[in-house]
């Protein structure tokens, strides 16, 4: 039973069965009518064989549901394209050599957790000397001059600092995403850089657990790095992309 990759559907225990688990809350009081509403909602979404297997009264007129259902929709896996950083992965030494050979001077990298975001662990993982998961951070690269401005850095401040340090690269970390505050912050930075005529002169990179490369491109960044990023991935990208630009 080889899978037909042009028609991939969720799998429970039989190819093509479409099995899905769903949980959600409805702002209606618990009871048979609530369960029926939950079921009809899922049916309206196109799900089939909907089974509300659990409901719980959460108080204040809210009800929690667990459901299983079958998803009749399939996806053509062979045509799925992932917006991904396309530069090749290079290790510490290769990257330094690459910069030395293709650029001939250390690149200036300025990083910050912007807005009110105080989650520094992710940016530190990428930038700090000691690095992350066994890979040294950008501060350790002789061919990168890395400045970590830390947390809760306002965009104005970051732009000023970048100008002052003649930054080649800006790294922005955004971890808090509630009410899309990261989109707000990231967009504001792009606008400021554009207003100051700096946007084209700078390689602009963002990162964070809810950041994808796709989102970054949409927001006007050159790249985005998500959960589990390792420092050399970022360094490789910087080196290759800067070489291309300076060519």
């Amino acid at each position: 039973m080889p899978t037909d990759l042009t028609q991939v559907r969720p799998y429970g225990d039989t190819l093509g069965d479409g099995a899905m688990q769903i949980s959600f809350t409805l702002p209606v009081p618990s009871g048979p009518q609530a369960a029926e509403a939950a079921k009809q909602l899922l049916q309206k979404m196109g799900l089939q064989a909907v089974s509300i297997v659990h409901q719980a009264d959460m108080g204040e007129g809210f009800t929690f549901f667990v459901a299983y259902a079958k998803c009749p929709i399939s996806i053509d896996y062979t045509s799925v394209r992932v917006p991904q950083v396309t530069t090749t992965y290079m290790d510490f030494d290769t990257t330094n050599d690459f910069i030395r050979r293709h650029i001939g001077r250390p690149l200036v990298v300025v990083g910050a957790c912007t807005g009110d975001d105080a989650h520094t662990v992710g940016l530190d993982a990428i930038m700090n000397m000691k690095g992350y998961a066994g890979s040294p951070g950008l501060e350790r690269y002789p061919m990168l001059r890395a400045y970590n401005l830390g947390s809760q850095v306002q965009n104005e401040e970051l732009v000023a600092k970048a100008r002052e340090l003649k930054a080649d690269v800006i790294l922005v970390s955004q971890v808090v995403t509630q009410k899309d505050v990261h989109v707000l912050n990231l967009t504001q930075l792009v606008e400021m850089l554009e207003a100051e005529g700096l946007r084209d002169k700078i390689l602009l990179i963002c990162g964070g657990p809810r950041i994808t490369h796709e989102l970054a491109l949409e927001l006007g960044y050159d790249a985005g790095f998500g959960a589990g990023t390792l420092p050399p991935q970022v360094a490789s990208f910087i080196a290759q992309e800067m070489a291309k630009r300076l060519r």
Binding site: M1, Y11, G12, D13, T14, L15, A19, Q21, S51, I52, V53, H54, A56, V66, Y68
Partner: protein, 522 residues
């Protein structure tokens, strides 16, 4: 492991009572055979396959002997007689009987000594095959040793053996140590074993020799790849216990669900039938080096787990003694129990811990089979996942042998691939994070846990002594186990029980018993 201060004299007395119960049953068993015992013998001697109506040849042969009223002599005698007469091998004879070309019962009888000599030779070959499988297991275990106990046991139950294989391999890769292929509903009440690869089953997959072989091969491949021997389990219960044991012995299954009372209580199989069948099936399992899993957990799916805890312990003692009498070693006794106390009861976790620690202490060498919460699982999969985690914690803290992993969707459907994966992840986290917890915990002397365990022990002893007095069959008639009353002559399969004639012959019995010894060290 944490130690409870249990009353050793009560443990000894309970074991003695169970021994008496088992010996009483054994004397009944020794005097009887059944259609499936006879079919199992034929299978081991080389009969396999089905006719055009999908009736297995062992059934056809035994049927013809039984119809002639000669089953009390043992079916194999007539098979061997026919072989001598025709010069065919066992399968050749069987096929001719099936096609109507040959009638076993119409052939001239060769001298008993000649027939038995042939039988002994066939038996030796059969046992050599089983031994080869056993040695292959030992060799693989040496080459690909597994992790520490508790071993992680998961089920596959798609109904389709090919789908099962995919799911089993995925489970092994995720970290499972043992794969059980759950049987389709209803197979246990079939008085024959289906044949060939099967793709249709409800709530499980048919147990067939071809299915066994296919899964064994897949697991061998994945074992080699992972460097970890993956054990295979099936169900040696229902109306065909010995035949399934025979198939499993040949196809190198590693464990078998195999309980002395389960079929009687939970499938309404006649007690005489099951008691005779369990003996021969266990003898085969013993010889094949298979670990049996007993079914005490089932008591708790209908009865209350706090109130009926002592029935579980009592049954463990009985299964132990019957098992030893069938040549099983302590290391092959996967005695069952379960985490089935209502989780909403205050201190339920303490009572579970007490029960599990108690079983561990009373049966120190047995690879106890510990069943997850099922009855109190609901559609709340998050709560279910947590319950399974607490169960895994008790398992590792008390050193259980075989941990059946609970599924978060227990109350909903037979496991999806992801349910099983999550179950393995759950166990791996908990057992690694609490790996040496058992060595660090001591229970408050005279505290709640110790009191509870001693209470359960006392009640089990009482029950066993009563059963020893009245006999197990009468106890079953009186409904002393699982609240179910079963008549000695009721239930399914009694027609298949036959009293052995003085000239009854089973060529496998003596060599197996000789090699295994009987009754262990009690």
């Amino acid at each position: 492991m944490p130690k409870l201060n249990l009353d050793q004299s009560k443990i000894d007395a309970a074991r003695a009572a169970a021994r008496a119960i088992a010996e009483d049953i054994q004397s009944f068993v020794d005097q009887h055979t059944t259609v499936t015992v006879e079919r199992a013998i034929l299978r081991l001697l080389g009969v396999d396959g089905v006719n055009a109506e999908q009736i297995p040849l062992p059934n056809i042969l035994v049927e013809s002997v039984a119809r002639a009223g000669r089953l009390s002599q043992g079916a194999s005698f007539f098979l061997a007689n026919a072989m001598l007469e025709t010069g065919l091998d066992a399968q050749g004879v069987a096929e001719r009987v099936a096609s109507g070309q040959l009638d076993l019962m119409q052939l001239p009888l060769h001298p008993t000594s000649a027939v038995r000599a042939l039988l002994d030779q066939l038996a030796a070959e059969a046992l050599a095959r089983i031994t080869a499988a056993r040695e292959k297991r030992e060799q693989m275990l040496a080459q690909y040793p597994g992790g520490p106990q508790p071993w992680l046991y998961v089920i596959v139950a798609t109904g389709n053996i090919h789908e099962d294989v995919i799911q089993a391999k995925a489970a092994a890769r995720a970290g499972a140590d043992i794969i059980a292929v759950i049987r389709t509903t209803g197979q246990s009440l079939l008085d024959y074993v289906p044949y060939g690869l099967t793709t249709e089953g409800f709530g499980g997959t048919y147990a067939t020799q071809a299915n066994f072989a296919l899964m064994r091969k897949a697991l061998d491949e994945v074992s080699a790849e992972l460097g970890r021997y993956i054990r295979l389990v099936n169900y040696c219960s229902g109306l065909c216990m010995p035949e399934i044991a025979a198939m499993g012995a040949i196809e190198r299954l590693d464990m078998m669900l195999n309980d002395a009372l389960y079929g009687i209580l939970f499938r309404d199989i006649n007690m005489q039938r099951t008691l005779v069948d369990q003996f021969f099936s266990r003898l085969i399992n013993a010889y094949a080096g298979i670990i049996i899993n007993t079914g005490e957990d089932n008591y708790l799916t209908t009865a209350d787990a706090l109130a009926a805890a002592h029935t579980v312990l009592a049954s463990q003692f009985i299964n132990e003694q019957l098992g030893l009498l069938a040549g099983l070693k302590h290391e092959q006794l996967g005695l069952g129990h379960a985490f089935e106390i209502d989780p909403n009861i205050e201190d339920s976790f303490l009572w579970e811990l007490a029960q599990a620690a108690m079983a561990r202490q009373i049966f120190p060498q047995a690879p106890l089979k510990y069943m997850p919460p099922t009855k109190h699982m609901t559609g709340d999969i998050f709560r279910g996942y947590l319950l399974n985690g607490m169960f895994n914690l008790v398992g590792v803290a008390t050193g259980q042998g075989i941990q059946l992993l609970g599924m978060l969707t227990e109350a909903i459907h037979t496991p999806f691939l992801q349910d099983r994966f999550l179950a393995v992840q759950n166990a791996r986290y908990v057992m690694n994070a609490a790996r040496h917890l058992g060595e660090e915990l001591v229970f408050q002397p005279g505290g709640r846990l110790e009191q509870r365990a001693n209470q359960v022990l006392s009640k089990a002893l009482e029950l066993l002594e009563h059963v020893a007095k009245i006999g197990l069959m009468t106890a079953l008639e009186q409904g002393l186990f699982a609240d179910v009353k079963r008549s000695r002559v009721g239930g399914k399969g009694l027609e298949g029980v036959v009293r052995k004639a003085p000239d009854y012959y089973n060529p496998l019995l003596a060599p197996m018993l000789t090699e295994l010894g009987r009754g262990g060290d009690a």
